[in-house]
């Protein structure tokens, strides 16, 4: 249940900003010190991290939906167990990311409300549909692969609770990534239909996955301060390039073709990819992706239909407390 009220911070001086404190804070960051929940921090640092960690948590929770779409249709019992365990892991990630965000002073309830109302964002990638079983392999291979690229540097993020959460998340993500790749290997070594299914999934997911790293560096709003605060250690374009370079040989191994005929390797060994359709990215972020409405509707439905359960649990806890108090008074 998430009814904890953490957003009142009366009686402390954490809101007071002054140049001396700000300089001390930056000195700690520069010395690679970890910032902990009770430490003083600039309001903008708190706000940036609350936004980033909660968006990350929302992404884990919404991300359960496209993969959850295949749990009841997984093609073998081994795959079914692995997929259910994987989606359960994502839920666990969401839970401890919300907990990490709560240490900054906003309750899970308030953060979740922000997502359900459409105000808070989650990763654009989860607004694409999973049409075939090969999408489950592709999500593990590429989406989790891209997430790992993004998240490994976050294990050294300046904010302690986030960094520690990311260490655990990354371990599980790397397991998911191998699992996804193994699904792709099986499909690519399978029948012609299975191989075509794998190629089709790659065709559909490739560009949206590249967009997961965010806008190109010259257009990114948050990078400068995030870099100064050591929340972000590599730029969007650097991470995207690292991902592409790691993925090209994997696609070759699978015998799949990356849907970018213009792609070529440069003198430094980096794979240069064609222009990304940033208009599509903007549209998906604005709510116009193929599944935005379905995803939010599914989360709202779960939330609304679960309201009576949460109310019952709260009512029962209250009754029980009162009974115990009455007993103690006797």
């Amino acid at each position: 249940m998430y009814t904890q009220a953490l957003n009142s911070s009366d009686g402390d001086d954490r809101g007071i900003e002054d140049a001396g404190r700000a300089a001390q804070f930056q000195a700690r960051i520069d010395a690679d010190d970890r910032i902990e929940p009770n430490d003083w921090m600039p309001a903008a640092y708190r706000k940036t991290l609350t936004r980033q960690i909660s968006q990350h948590a929302h992404s884990e929770i919404v991300g359960m939906l496209p993969e959850g779409n295949w749990i009841t249709r997984a093609p073998s019992l081994r795959r079914k167990a692995a997929l259910l365990a994987k989606v359960q892991d994502e839920c666990g990630h969401g839970l401890y990311l919300y907990a990490a965000a709560e240490t900054l002073g906003t309750s899970r309830e308030e953060l979740v409300d922000g997502m359900l109302s459409g105000k808070a964002k989650y990763s654009s990638i989860f607004n694409y549909p999973t049409l075939t079983w090969a999408d489950i392999g592709t999500i593990g291979w590429l989406v989790d692969g891209a997430a790992i690229m993004n998240q490994i540097p976050l294990c050294r993020c300046s904010y302690g609770p986030y960094a520690r959460a990311m260490i655990r998340v990354c371990k599980e993500e790397s397991f998911h990534q191998r699992q996804g790749f193994e699904i792709m290997v099986t499909l690519c070594r399978g029948t012609a239909e299975q191989k075509a299914m794998a190629q089709n999934a790659l065709n559909r997911w490739w560009w949206p996955v590249l967009m997961m790293f965010g806008p190109p560096d010259q257009a990114s709003q948050h990078s400068d301060t995030s870099t100064k605060w050591k929340i972000k250690r590599f730029s969007n374009d650097e991470l995207r390039q690292k991902f592409v370079d790691a993925t090209v040989p994997q696609a070759e191994f699978l015998g799949l073709t990356i849907p970018d005929p213009g792609m070529k390797q440069n003198a430094n060994g980096n794979w240069e990819y064609s222009a990304i359709d940033w208009d599509e990215f903007k549209q998906v972020l604005a709510g116009n992706g193929p599944c935005n409405r379905d995803r939010l509707a599914a989360r709202r439905k779960a939330h609304d239909e679960g309201a009576w359960v949460r109310e019952a649990a709260a009512a029962y806890a209250e009754k029980r407390k009162n009974r115990q108090l009455a007993q103690a008074a006797e």
Partner: protein, 258 residues
């Protein structure tokens, strides 16, 4: 459907293992349907966890059935290539999730039985079944605790949760009798000490269930007419839909490996 059903030699021991495997698979599948849609993240985790336990039990029991049968069948053929009439699970476990109360009452009725059943089966003269029972008993004990706590919370929570929990009990009660029934095939296994007689567990099951239901300020129905048929393949309408979803890929792509 492009792929034919398998044939199964249902000797008493194979049939025994398939019945328990089917219970676990179908109930685990039902719980997995909640994934991503539960009333709170903690319950998403818990329901998936119990679904995984049951799926694990099903796989071990199917594996054992395949070994005893000694044909070409395996866990996936049992799960994916038998039709409704070949499935041997209890009617209770195939009932749709409904609301959270319906799911938890179904879980509670089953877990209260499975906990007793697997504990008793640890004394089976069949060492494989005794080992599966030892693992399943630990899992079932948690499932029983989790569902019991929810029955009490829902029954003694708000007026709405009380009404929903009572509806769920009334709706599912007639599917509980089948858990304690024994046919000739299983009678032989009981006599030889391989299986235990579930009828002997019924008084203790009723005591557990009555205790929790009373604590939850709920009531068991007065009507004791019980449905049956799952163990011999006469199911409710719901199982066919579940299977058409569960089996869709292996049925559509003959001979593919996944």
């Amino acid at each position: 459907m492009a792929v034919a059903n398998i044939e199964v030699s249902e000797t008493p021991l194979v049939l025994y293992a398939l019945r328990r495997a089917d219970d676990a698979l179908i109930l685990g599948h039902r719980l997995s349907e909640w994934c991503g849609h539960a009333p709170a993240l903690e319950e998403d985790m818990a329901l998936a966890n119990m679904g995984l336990d049951l799926l694990g039990q099903a796989r071990e029991l199917y594996g054992y059935a395949a070994k005893v049968e000694g044909r070409d069948n395996d866990e996936d053929k049992f799960a994916y290539l038998r039709d409704v009439r070949q499935y041997r699970n209890l009617l209770l476990v195939e009932q749709p999730n409904g609301d959270f109360a319906r799911t938890l009452v179904r879980q509670f009725f089953y877990a209260a039985f499975a906990d007793l059943y697997w504990r008793a089966m640890m004394a089976s003269k069949d060492p494989t079944l005794a080992a599966i029972a030892a693992k399943s008993e630990k899992e079932s004990a948690y499932h029983l605790r989790h569902s019991s706590e929810w029955i009490v919370r829902l029954g003694d929570g708000t007026a709405e949760s009380h009404r929903r929990a009572q509806d769920a009990i009334d709706h599912l009660w007639s599917y509980t009798g089948e858990m304690f029934a024994v046919d000739d095939s299983e009678r032989g296994l009981i006599v030889s000490g391989i299986a235990i007689d579930p009828a002997s567990l019924q008084p203790r099951w009723l005591k557990t269930v009555t205790g929790i239901v009373n604590e939850a300020t709920l009531q068991l129905p007065a009507n004791n007419w019980m449905q049956k048929g799952g163990r011999s393949g006469s199911h409710s309408e719901h199982l066919g839909h579940l299977l058409s979803e569960l089996q869709s890929l292996p049925r559509t792509f003959p001979g593919a490996t996944w």
